[in-house]
Symmetry: C2
Subunit: 216 residues, 2 copies
Amino acid sequence: MRAVDVASTRDRLLAAARSVVEEHGYGGASVAAISVAAGVANGTLYRHFGSKAELFVEVFRDVCGREVDAMRAAVEQVGQDGRPDPVERVLAPLDVFARRALQNRTLAWALLAEPVDALVDEVRLEYRRTYRDLLVGLLADAVDAGALPPQDAGLTAAALVGAVGEALVGPVSPRAEPASGTDDSLLSGLRDVCRRATGAPPRGPDRLPQGDGDRR
Amino acid sequence: MRAVDVASTRDRLLAAARSVVEEHGYGGASVAAISVAAGVANGTLYRHFGSKAELFVEVFRDVCGREVDAMRAAVEQVGQDGRPDPVERVLAPLDVFARRALQNRTLAWALLAEPVDALVDEVRLEYRRTYRDLLVGLLADAVDAGALPPQDAGLTAAALVGAVGEALVGPVSPRAEPASGTDDSLLSGLRDVCRRATGAPPRGPDRLPQGDGDRR
């Protein structure tokens, strides 16, 4: 095989695996299903990847890399038309992550929680740290700007990553109970919880009467 | 073998596996290490469990069952001496979970995040739902009592479980970076984030000036 064939077969296997996982999860991504989708013989996969788990790891990295890009782009979008709100910059990437997960539930389940292989779990942990690191800087900026109370930004960032991930696990699970609301109400509720967790001043119905001259 | 011997060998294997996992994580819990600790021959394990992963699942259930008991007991403890504060009843089980995790980091790592086996991941998901269900009722009670703003209790409960789990993953990981604070500061910071996430009225340094007559 020429080098170019090796590369293209490998890429075809990756693209095929991604699309099978997106449609059926890891559970439905047998070597046979991936090989058919890639248009190669069953054994070909093992000439390019040490194991199916190693192929899954590459699919995972590829998909999560796109999520990180989308999250970063969402941060940049905030305040394009004016002065960026530092709290909105913290919430935007969480919002976009949740929105994309609900639009692609099988893939989100595969990324977030589908039981699969220890190798994939390692990469899951790695990407959760990446998401956290993205939030740490945004939280620190918002604290510096006086928009959020002083706090351990690393701790809050980890808590936000965990909160969003866990709140989505139920809804994207293939065994999801019938949803109690729409996707929009879930996204808006999740945004409220995250906003509150950062310590941003509550607004609207979120706010409890304080009983000390707080009501106008 | 008499039935009583079967039961006691099985129990010895479970206890041995639990103690090896507690000290070395799943990664250090080889069949050989478990067999030595249980005082049985290497092959004995497979007469009582289908695989090492199946034994891990039983260890996991056993340990998580104790966590759930401790969390329930913490809820009962709140307000033993007076009128129970509904928000404290939500925070108490999270607090006790976090405290116990920091006291037993290797075991906490094994429970929360150590990459191991899809079978164990299944039980992880199951227990996260159990933790969530425990919180849902407490949150709903606090909303009914007017101590928390109206909210989707299931969503907040899942977010709290995720927040606490993820905030602990870093500190209990064997590759933990040097902590930026003490365990007490972590516990207190985590309590603040969780409290805020529920929408409980902020108190003390948590509170931002509102600029509308809120300051006395």
